[in-house]
């Protein structure tokens, strides 16, 4: 009798609670920083739009393994590359389902038609969807895909062949990028027939771990876990993006338990976050680099490698890390971040040595220094949170070796345009990687073809160019690694930039969040994440 009472009073309620808890949906709330521009990743370039679309709703042929830049099979189970490196044959995964939602019920599974649709929309100007929603496809264009892809042919329902105009080793990595997300061709047809193709980009259907439910601009985005996902179902049941633009307010929401994870904290809040036992502050080096580029074509002094070396030595980088990054950065010695393969550890950076710098300047024919300018960005970026302050430190450091620098700044759009045209003498800027390939830094930012666009140093140096072009066309990863390592040695010796810093990415989250991994590309991916109540 007594035991029965005990069971009644303790065990049964406990069991009920456990049953109720397991039956209760796990809702994960992410305090995102802004509204997405839309839900078709190929149309946009911002991380905010990718977080809300490609990183939850869609899959690609190849995927980046969560938390790494390693490529793993996605909607393609395997691929073969022809010997000359121009023909890629993809074998597609069978049994992959598209989301069933209030607005669309698929009648077939994923096949080669969906891959064709997703790329042809971007590639072919006469495709019925090409001009829908403005159709700019900036990423597709900036990765040179229109020039690179010769043809895409469907061999059968589960085999598709990409033929390239030239060998391009980073091609697979490009296909794992957000713009290469695979859409449902059946859904696109349906919307086109209904006369509402714009809706295709506003109400997305993908094969990814979460299905889109609803979105209200500047307010929220709602997703549910997709029960028929081709990998293991997501551990959380509902995912809500609670759009909160102000970093202090995001932090207040995290503290009040109104969200589980927030991006982009204020550097000033980091110490308090570390001390809070309810908050887990994860950190990792970002896939970026902040630099000062010398204009090596327009400025006489900067054409001289000795001057570039001298001014590299004259800057106290540690002071910049402390004052500008407030600890949220590390000194950069190479033009690629350490998280990218082929990062050359052996390279020794120019030490901070004003005396030697002055001697080197004298040797170069500038014993009394010279006058120049430093352009400072008007905006804050992870790779440079306060360019004005950084420019002031550089100004002060250079003045110690006799170089008088004037700080110049413009409105952001003007800044980019004018620096692209080479109007600067030296300019502060940076880059965040797209696909984890060294080519995405070295060719994009320092290649001869990039002079007049992203190559702000206007630096075209043949020995360097030969190495990066050879690496681009070499399929063997070990050989590519060797070539890129060598290229970094030449870069350091020639010093077209002063490599300043790589930022550190911080992700504060509730201690209830389990198994979150920081995405090296700066994204926020909630597949694989769990909540422990």
């Amino acid at each position: 009798m007594k035991w029965r009472n005990v069971a009644k009073s303790t065990v049964f309620p406990l069991l009920f609670t456990l049953v109720a808890l397991s039956a209760q949906a796990k809702t994960f709330v992410y305090c995102s920083e802004g509204s997405p521009e839309g839900f078709t990743p190929s149309l946009y370039t911002s991380g905010t739009s990718f977080d809300a679309s490609s990183r939850q709703i869609f899959d690609k042929l190849a995927l980046f393994q969560r938390g790494t830049t390693k490529i793993i099979p996605g909607l393609a189970t395997a691929w073969e590359v022809s010997e000359d490196g121009t023909v890629y044959t993809f074998h597609l995964r069978k049994g992959v389902k598209f989301h069933t939602t209030k607005f669309f019920t698929p009648t077939r599974e994923f096949n080669a038609d969906d891959v064709l649709f997703s790329f042809e929309r971007q590639q072919n100007p006469s495709h019925p969807y090409h001009k829908v929603s403005g159709g700019a496809y900036e990423y597709f264009n900036s990765m040179d895909m229109p020039e690179l892809i010769k043809s895409i042919v469907k061999k059968d329902d589960y085999t598709i062949v990409f033929t390239l105009n030239k060998p391009e080793a980073p091609f697979i990595a490009n296909l794992a990028m957000d713009f290469a997300s695979i859409h449902s061709a059946e859904y696109a047809d349906k919307m086109l027939k209904a006369g509402t193709p714009d809706e295709f980009d506003q109400k997305p259907i993908g094969t990814g771990p979460f299905a889109f439910v609803s979105y209200q601009k500047d307010s929220f985005i709602r997703f549910v876990a997709f029960d028929h996902y081709w990998r293991e179902r997501a551990k959380i049941d509902k995912l809500v993006f609670s759009i909160t633009p102000d970093a202090s307010v995001r932090y207040a929401k995290l503290r009040a338990g109104e969200c589980h994870l927030m991006p982009y904290p204020n550097p000033a809040d980091l110490a308090q976050m570390r001390a809070d036992k309810d908050i887990n502050l994860m950190e990792q080096e970002g896939l970026n680099v902040g630099y000062l580029a010398f204009n090596t074509q327009r400025v006489e002094a900067f054409k001289n490698v000795k001057v570039r070396r001298a001014l590299s030595m004259a800057i106290d980088k540690q002071n910049i890390i402390d004052a500008v990054f407030q600890g949220a950065g590390t000194i950069a010695k190479n033009p690629i971040p350490p998280t990218i393969w082929s990062y050359n550890e052996a390279i020794v950076d120019y030490p901070y040595d004003p005396v030697k710098a002055k001697a080197l300047l004298a040797e170069a024919g500038y014993p009394n220094g010279f006058e120049t300018n430093v352009w400072a960005m008007p905006v804050s970026r992870p790779y440079n949170p306060n360019a004005r302050r950084m420019a002031e430190i550089i100004q002060e450091d250079w003045s110690k070796v006799g170089v008088k620098a004037k700080i110049v700044t413009f409105e952001w759009g003007e800044y980019l345009k004018r620096s692209k045209a080479g109007e600067h003498e030296s300019v502060l800027l940076g880059w965040t990687g797209d696909n984890g390939d060294p080519d995405n830094f070295l060719t994009v930012l320092l290649g001869c073809n990039a002079v007049g666009s992203a190559n702000r140093a206007m630096w075209c140096y043949q020995p360097f160019e030969d190495l990066i072009q050879k690496a681009k066309a070499t399929p063997d990863p070990a050989e590519r690694t060797r070539l890129y390592e060598e290229a970094q040695v030449i870069f350091k010796d020639q010093a077209p930039w002063v490599t300043i810093a790589h930022s550190v990415v911080f992700e504060p989250m509730s201690t209830k969040v389990k198994n979150y991994k920081i995405d090296p590309f700066g994204g926020h991916i909630f597949y694989g994440v769990d909540l422990i109540e």
Partner: protein
């Protein structure tokens, strides 16, 4: 009265043209290229740059662009956003209910507290109550909105946990937002507790947004009351033996209300401007924040369209205020 209304409408027209001209010239005066801004560090080649500019219609001379815009305005087409590619009117209408709901609550809060505070301070002139009301209203008037908002959030939401930090509804409620007015949508939904959640989300933003109008209304009411209380007819009313409450509420207040209503009308414009900061702090999905973001992105159609609609709303609020004068004080509509 009809003639009066027609005359007022006639004044609206030049104001309307002035707003379109001013907005258009100002956004084209500030530096910045929408195409370059979108490309960012990545950059864009000259051919694509020209192509995208042509698609946006930015390759045409400014006069042609302005005339196209004005033609659009008169046919009800405000263009499409450069960023989201959605029609401006549609974007505006999805966000405007949130601004309207917040402004309404903030104004109600300001009137509900400001008006009685002003009356009491006016009637009890020189008393400690008067000094307290005036002191508080001066503090309220000088309060930086951003700081005030964060202070309230940290105290009431983070420290005490009484109110939610930001947003319009708890993330746990998944209701349909058909009307865009969260109080109405939550009432119409079946989810228990949703209405309460929506209401609790309105408290802090309404207080923050309503603080300055409250201070202004209180001060205005006080000075208007002081003036009216000196009038002969108030003395007459007192002499007739009417109760003090009736003298204040009926004889004095009705006449004191005219300047107060002007101020309330003007404050509605201030509210929409002040809403930008409040909306940012409380992650309130309204039009103020949207316009600021559009300026940062040089989304010309969104800036032009958004400011035009808001200006139109303000012009009509002022028109309504003028008409209300006529109702309160018949002399105004006869003398004009």
């Amino acid at each position: 009265m009809i003639q009066f209304i027609i005359r007022r409408f006639f004044y609206v027209f030049p104001a309307f043209i002035g707003v379109t001209l001013l907005t258009f010239s100002l956004i084209h005066l500030i530096p910045g290229d929408p195409v370059e801004l979108r490309a960012g560090e990545r950059g864009i080649d000259a051919v694509r740059h020209a192509k995208l500019k042509a698609e946006m219609g930015l390759d045409k001379p400014l006069t042609v662009q302005y005339l196209k815009y004005i033609r659009g305005v008169f046919t009800g087409d405000l263009g499409k956003s450069f960023v989201t590619k959605k029609p401006i009117l549609e974007e505006f209408l999805t966000l405007f209910p949130a601004t309207l709901e917040l402004s309404f609550c903030a104004m109600s809060f300001a009137i509900l507290f400001g008006l009685p505070a002003g009356i009491i301070a006016g009637v009890k002139r020189g008393s400690p109550i008067d000094h307290t009301v005036m002191g508080i209203s001066l503090t309220g008037y000088s309060m930086p909105i951003f700081w005030w908002g964060l202070l309230l959030i940290l105290f009431f939401s983070v420290q005490l946990g009484w109110t939610p930090v930001s947003g319009r509804l708890s993330a746990l409620f998944w209701i349909d937002t058909d009307t865009g007015f969260m109080l109405i949508d939550t009432l119409r939904s079946d989810e228990e507790g949703a209405f309460k959640s929506a209401l609790s989300h309105l408290i802090l933003p309404s207080i923050v947004l309503g603080t300055i109008p409250l201070a202004v209304i209180a001060r205005m009411t006080r000075s208007a009351m002081l003036e009216v209380l000196q009038e002969d007819y108030v003395r007459t009313a007192k002499a007739k033996g009417l109760s003090p409450l009736r003298v204040i509420m009926v004889h004095a207040l009705r006449n004191a209300l005219i300047p107060v209503i002007t101020v309330i009308g003007l404050q509605i414009g201030v509210l929409m401007a002040g809403a930008i900061l409040t909306e940012t702090i409380f992650a309130w999905p309204g039009v103020g924040k949207w316009i600021v973001e559009s300026i940062n992105r040089r989304d010309y159609p969104a800036i032009q369209g958004g400011i035009l609609i808001i200006a139109t709303v303000i012009i009509f609020v002022n028109l309504a205020v003028d008409l209300v004068y006529g109702i309160i004080n018949p002399r105004i509509r006869h003398t004009r």
